[in-house]
């Protein structure tokens, strides 16, 4: 567990997810003179989510830069600046806005190094916000990680905890590849232990956040917490669930997943994104390829139904995957 790495004194310091993001970015700006933050309302407003607050005052307008509402331009700025010696941190306010800059992301950023025969290096980090739960409706609530994980050349991480948010942001910004850090808006107030100073959470390493014996629940981002709740509830039904927080989707820590499934013989995959065509399909395929003989039950998947994210709280609550659904789906799968 990540927390186990902390010394006792540091572990006592708790920070909200939103402030852990700020700290991660601040550490990067302190250690890397070529790093700057650019995006919509990142400077004066400190981001609409508040996670850049104080950075303008500390680092000045040359390093914390408000941009026009121009996602193609912003993403291009990040690519061009990264290819020519800077280490930009680009803020894509809502992940839903990927549609406005998908050429820059998919055709330019992800492919430039390969197309150029390895002659380009793109140390650019994109912070972006995902997830439903705030009645922001269909265009401000999506979880579109599968759009990104399908693109060779990008790294994609999705922190579930404040500790991982700070550590993954630092790792992403120290990486010489384009990295998307997918944040979660409903997790902003979530508190957890966060050490002071700079530390890395390695990209490509999953975290076995709870150990168990007869079911592996694989989740990432906010669904990790729903998975943990589900694991508690499943105890009453004789299920001792292991919970894996993927943390990194690309590269994917297949070894940790497979080792766990070989031990527990059952796998339940959970993500907030629409289930059909979601990242969970890839996970299920890999598990059956690599651990087929160890499986005692079909691989389960919990995700959102095949619809846009609805507005009304009652609809949105029934749309979003949660612990209750994970428990129900697990019981159905195992027949208990």
């Amino acid at each position: 567990m990540a927390e186990a790495q902390l010394d006792t004194a540091q572990a006592e310091r708790k920070l909200a997810y939103v402030n852990a993001i700020t700290e991660g970015v601040r550490e990067v700006l302190l250690e890397q003179p070529d790093a700057f933050v650019a995006g919509e309302d990142v400077a004066g407003a400190g981001s609409v989510f508040g996670y850049y607050q104080g950075l303008l005052e500390q680092f000045g307008p040359e390093r914390v830069i408000d941009t026009p509402i121009s996602e193609k331009g912003i993403m291009g700025l990040g690519i061009g600046a990264a290819a020519t010696g800077c280490r930009p941190i680009i803020d894509l306010m809502f992940m839903d806005f990927l549609g406005e800059c998908m050429d820059e992301v998919a055709n330019q950023m992800a492919k430039m190094r390969y197309m150029f025969g390895g002659h380009a290096k793109l140390p650019v980090t994109v912070l972006t916000m995902s997830g439903a739960g705030m009645s922001l409706a269909a265009q401000h609530s999506q979880s579109l990680e599968a759009w990104l994980t399908h693109l060779p050349g990008l790294k994609v991480v999705a922190p579930a905890t404040p500790y991982d948010a700070k550590g993954l942001i630092i790792s992403a910004c120290r990486d010489d590849n384009p990295v998307f850090v997918i944040l979660n808006k409903l997790s902003l107030a979530l508190e957890g232990p966060v050490p002071e100073g700079a530390y890395e959470v390695p990209i490509g390493k999953a975290n076995v956040i709870r150990e168990g014996t007869n079911l592996t629940i694989i989740a990432f981002s906010r669904m990790v917490h729903e998975a943990l709740q589900a694991a508690d509830q499943l105890k009453e039904h004789g299920i001792d669930a292991e919970v894996i927080d993927l943390r990194s989707l690309q590269p994917l820590d297949t070894d940790t997943i497979v080792a766990s499934v070989k031990k527990t013989h059952r796998a339940m995959i959970v993500h907030e994104a629409v289930r059909f065509g979601g990242f969970g399909g890839e996970l299920a395929a890999q598990i059956q390829e690599l651990a087929f003989d160890y499986l005692d039950a079909p691989i389960g998947r919990v995700g959102a139904p095949f619809s846009p994210v609805p507005y009304s709280p009652s609809l949105e609550q029934s749309y979003m995957p949660n612990a209750k659904r994970i428990v129900a789906e697990t019981r159905r799968l195992i027949g208990i």
Binding site: G73, Q108, R113
Partner: protein, 326 residues
Amino acid sequence: MTIQATDAVLLDMHERMVRIRIFEEEAGKLMENGKVPGALHLYVGQEAVASGVMVHLNDDDHITSTHRGHGHVVAKGGAFKEMYAELYGKADGYCKGRGGSMHICNMEIGMLGANGIVGGGIPIAMGAAFAKKYRKTQEVAVSFFGDGASNEGSFHEAANMAALYKLPLILVCENNGFGEYTRQDAHQAIVDVADRAAGYGMPGVVVDGMDAIAVYEAAGEAVARARKGEGPTLLECKTYRYYDHVGVRGMGLSYRTDEEVEHWKQRDPITMLESRLVEQGILTKRKITNIHKRIREDAKQAIEFAEKSPLPDPSELLDDVYYVQA
């Protein structure tokens, strides 16, 4: 203040233009003879633009290019051998055979790639210009694009941001009259793309893109402005491509008349510059012939090099998808 081209500059531009013309003529033959895979978009007719702009740039000034990008690589100082090898998809190519014609690049001379997406390079050049300003250099970035790309959102977003941040960027619109096979009057309601500069608060300049000296003078002003920190310029060069959108053909096509092609060829940029060089006593006709011969020979040798270069080993298929720390 107009920047006058010295004799040395005229000779330099001439050399670059002839190198582009010959590189492209030979590349066209290779495509027609099935020697190279894929699609080539050739730059013949537009040589004055790349050359007139590029003589102002150093290796640390960056450019982005288009699907019609060979001319920009040559004018920026790219070597025939590595370029032809790339068109052949060979291991010695600039991109080790991974990019081909539409992604040909050379980072060492500040060439941030041809680009298969129309308008795709413009925001990237703006980002390079941003980095130059951020790092407090005197360097500039130049984005080449066509009249077709001026209708893409990427152009408008990058132009606005370049003007807003006063970036050292020169937006060079090579208006060759066509977005692929669609005539300019069928794809935009304006005649001069440079008119769009006013909407972003930057100077817009129209220049005869067949006249290398005119391009040189206008680009010189734009580059000087950018180096002084006075912000971007939209420089529109009216030009024409002799060949088809893809490949060579060029005549007998339905989207333009042969008369139109002939009309533009009457003002061939290389012929016009050569007349001037002879008039001014800078070159003789014989010397010009020798320059063409020398460059043609360079091209032939480079093609032989490309022919002999090995194909990339399939074991290298997955190299360079990611940067791996050594």
